[in-house]
Symmetry: C2
Subunit: 608 residues, 2 copies
């Protein structure tokens, strides 16, 4: 299937946008009128540029307030349409989008609307062009796809057909099964946009919060399939108005956009059109690589030793240490700066894949940026791609001859402090990458959303999204400050963290205490509130209080959390005990934890 993208999805000058669309592999573009008007390039030069880039111009849009115009205003509509059709001829575009009128003086009369569209279609046909008529969800009189189809049918003009837009149909919760009975040749264009489910004015929702397919909560797959079933043969085209994408690097956004269409297409027509290698099952996190500044390395080593880890291996060629305990493996890299953007501390992680090569193939099909394979003689060949924030994601199968063999054994063995493995990773995301990251983990790794939240932290709102594989072996929590950017709120990203699972938090806490590590000081007010809210068993209450642990529960079980200090301002370790199958992440405790870390830092500054 051909893919197309509206220039309004991207940021920058029109040239920036065209370059980005071509580089991401799109076949065509929709030229959004305002982007052309602001461009210093003539239509002829835009036409030449798109041709050089291998892009077709699939649509010119939008043409507003046409149908239903009071007769005395319609002459101006015709005049405007002639001018725009002439412009399209210069551009080399042959289809114009007419969206249903919103002007207050629009007349609600289907016969009039059909007659006027017929007149406009005559103008288009004279030039060998076509008009695609679309019902805006907030159209004055025409706001549903079936109403727009009724008018197009009534007009009965060969140069007039429908434009269908997933957002306008799905945002209203309209039944779209009937689309299958529309003759395929009368559907001239298909625009796709997803969106989170929000309870707000549909116009604002559409203008600010649209997302690429599979990034939101609308059923794009079912809708698109219905349109294909009708016999539509045009491109799958994206039309997404999003405040973040409007100001983000268009090259990154365009790749994100294409990824969404590749993933969407793989599920259409029974997978016949865009077969994608299935995501192999994941078996857990093989290792996590922490990047710390050389000056913070001793503190992190002390912390790992206090947690019962042993420095079991030293990389054959790099300044990277392997630390192990149970199934938890941490690579400590105090060398080169992190490839991740900003000061991200989790610079890489490796996923245990049942089929690493297949995982890598799927990632490549979904446009994940491959990382150069680095191997020396006697080093394992690791396949890796970059996540949207730059974090390196390796696909491995841990075995004696595998990656583990890259490390020379030191002979140390772990003292042990109850740690059994890696529970999850918490990746603070760059602002521009949040929805892109969610799509990446969902599609490339075949993971699914687990829990989403938003909470008021001491320095502003934070949004979180936890994603997991079907078997709950790999869990990743993404977070982003919703708005933090003034001169007061800390400008640096909030720290990332690694969450370790323990079989007994008391054992781990005792080990930390014995080693002189002070965990983040959870305030007494927190326990007072816990006592007021929940009548916890006395033993549990005592355990929490004495360990300085935080607590959460769900309908299944309990969650006990302990936090190390933040090392080097960039990373801390959380230790959790899951009891009776608790499935959450304790997000509600995050503001208190953040305040505790801040209090701990302020005290340390006073001491120092």
């Amino acid at each position: 299937m051909r893919t197309s993208i509206a220039t309004v999805c991207l940021s920058g000058t029109l040239e920036d946008r065209l370059d980005a669309a071509a580089a991401a592999g799109f076949d065509g573009v929709e030229i959004f009128e305002n982007d052309l008007i602001a461009s210093s390039s003539s239509p002829e030069s835009i036409r030449a540029r798109t041709r050089d880039l291998g892009l077709s111009i699939d649509l010119y849009q939008p043409f507003r307030d046409a149908e239903g115009a009071p007769p005395d205003r319609f002459a101006a509509v015709e005049r405007r349409m002639r001018a725009k059709l002439d412009l399209m001829a210069r551009l080399g575009a042959d289809t114009v989008l007419v969206c249903s009128s919103v002007a207050p003086d629009t007349i609600g009369d289907d016969a009039l609307a059909a007659a006027q569209l017929r007149t406009l279609a005559d103008l288009a046909a004279e030039r060998g062009m076509r008009i695609a008529y679309e019902a805006l969800a907030w159209g004055r009189h025409v706001s549903t796809w079936d109403h727009s189809w009724e008018i197009v049918r009534r007009a009965g003009h060969p140069a007039l057909g429908l434009c269908l837009d997933s957002f306008h149909v799905l945002s209203r919760g309209s039944d779209f099964a009937g689309i299958r009975s529309v003759p395929g040749e009368k559907i001239l264009f298909l625009q796709l946009a997803d969106a989170p489910r929000l309870a707000m004015d549909v116009l604002q929702w559409s203008r600010h919060h649209r997302l690429f397919p599979l990034q939101g909560g609308l059923d794009l797959a079912a809708f698109t399939q219905a349109v294909l079933d009708a016999g539509y043969t045009g491109p799958l085209s994206l039309e997404v108005f999003n405040d973040v994408f409007r100001q983000a690097d268009p090259h990154r956004t365009a790749v994100d956009a294409r990824r969404s269409l590749i993933a969407l297409a793989s599920g259409l027509n029974g997978g016949a059109d865009g077969a994608l290698t299935p995501a192999p099952a994941l078996d857990g996190i093989a290792f996590t690589e922490l990047g710390v500044d050389p000056s913070s390395a001793p503190e992190m080593e002390t912390l790992l030793r206090a947690l019962g880890f042993a420095h079991t291996g030293q990389h054959r060629s790099k300044a990277v240490q392997l630390w192990e305990q149970g199934a938890a493996r941490i690579l400590l890299n105090a060398g080169a700066p992190s490839p991740a953007e900003g000061s991200a501390a989790i610079r890489a992680f490796a996923l245990e894949s049942t089929q690493p090569e297949q995982s890598a193939r799927r990632a490549e099909q979904l446009l994940a940026r491959p990382l150069p394979r680095r191997r020396r003689q006697s080093e394992a060949d690791l396949t890796a791609v970059a996540a949207p924030d730059g974090t390196e994601v390796f696909f491995v199968r841990t075995s004696p001859a595998g990656w583990h063999d890259d490390f020379l054994p030191t002979g140390e063995t772990a003292a042990g402090a109850g740690i059994t493995g890696i529970d999850h990773l918490s990746l603070a995301q760059p602002f521009d990458r949040y929805d892109e990251a969610a799509l990446f983990y969902r599609t490339v790794l075949g993971m699914a959303d687990d829990e989403a939240g938003e909470f008021a932290a001491p320095f502003g709102l934070v949004r979180t999204l936890a994603i997991r594989d079907p078997g709950r072996r790999v869990r990743i929590a993404l977070s982003v400050p919703v708005l933090r950017r003034g001169e007061w709120a800390p400008a640096i990203p909030h720290p990332q963290h690694l969450t370790l699972a323990t079989s007994d938090l008391a054992v781990t806490a005792a080990a930390l205490r014995a080693a002189g590590v002070e965990t983040a000081p959870i305030p007494g007010n927190y326990y007072d509130d816990l006592d007021a809210r929940l009548a916890l068993p006395l033993a549990l209450r005592g355990k929490l209080h004495s360990l300085g642990a935080m607590y959460d529960e769900d309908e299944r079980g309990q969650y006990l959390q302990l936090f190390t200090p933040v090392v080097g301002g960039r990373v801390f370790i959380e230790i959790v005990e899951r009891v009776n199958g608790y499935r959450g992440y304790g997000f509600a405790n995050d503001p208190v934890r953040m305040a505790a870390h801040r209090a701990q830092r302020l005290r340390k500054e006073v001491r120092d």
Copy 2:
């Protein structure tokens, strides 16, 4: 009237928030439960701190899901209430806010709700405390103030009364005249919040978009007056959930908050309680001071000369030049860095006030930050305050012995190029200061909103608000990028600009051309679209095209705009001709103008 503020209005640790509230002059605070829970200070130490700061704790809040609880859950509610009342005793707070229940299992039975609230009021009364019951706009069964009053009346308990919140009442458009008949002593607390008029889910609207009084679109004055008329004698207290304030400097936010109450109070009870010096009439902008880097000064001087200005004066003691033409006076300061934050280029402006001293007195009453008076012998005594973004605002009365006399005449006279005066100032605002700036200009200067907009610029959304004095002599356009903060969009603030009025744009354009100044290159696509949309008279069309001017019109008249290049990346000058009483600002043209400036810069970089 006493003033109070909820800690949730502010950012930072609880201590940061208390300090900010006290410094801004509030009498008391509402302690928001989550802020206390996250605090490392005990209730006793918070009590001591507020006492030391001279703050009372006027309310503890919120207590959720109390009334209408199924009987088997009510024991837990009582237990929780006892714990919170004990906590309040430690804090020294005597009133707790109970908000109407939202839990799905809440029973909609007024008799049950009244009985349960009576039971809880007994618990409060035992400790000499009170319960203020509030209807949340999204309460499960109780969502209007009159319903909450019906339940309180039914309960008939001396320790139980109402909490009224302007947002919950006004957001629903409820009639509030009936509040006047509620006995004053039964209104235990009054919370004030404004909000912009938005069509969205009321819960999201409330949690993210509340504003301080007079910053939004709700009628706070009428509502507050109704509550006072009922005999309410407690504090005016602010409870504002706002995404920006949550992450902004709490000291600045607290001052902004107090300013809103001072302005609100001055209009209550016929002005008896908080008399404020009236805002004197403004007569125009006496001068605008532009700050440029020394390296950009020659370019700006060339530009001013090209525009027909003369360098008429040199400051007696500072490296500041006076440039004049008609009533337009520009101070050019290539010296000390701008006091404004960021790289704001309009570092000061002076308002012609009919009573400068009175203007300054009002500014002081409204907590504007006074700037040190700088005068030397034989220099005018200028009264100035800082606007929220740091811009210096002077109040002057231009006269022979006034500020003008600080400049030694150079003897130059202006060649003239049609410029008649300063049309308006366009101040790009720091993100954190936008609503604060609007409130500042409205209250301190007695100005009113003129036109608000939001447009998609090439690098992201931009929000604008134009404010003017009643006589349309002073116009200020504020703008802020809604979301610009990723790594792609330009990190620097967009340039500020000064708009000059010309009596004939053709004359000014000819002067610029003669001097070799290239104005921002408006693309041909813009004129094609203009022609498609409007059938302009041939002469006007020709004039626009030949001048490279942009165009707007309203129901009164026409607006012709021309833009100089951006000087030093920070500032440009717009020249406008208003025809037949056009009243707008041409905001819709901004995206094209921004793209043109970018194209001009890129061309210059290629040339250089």
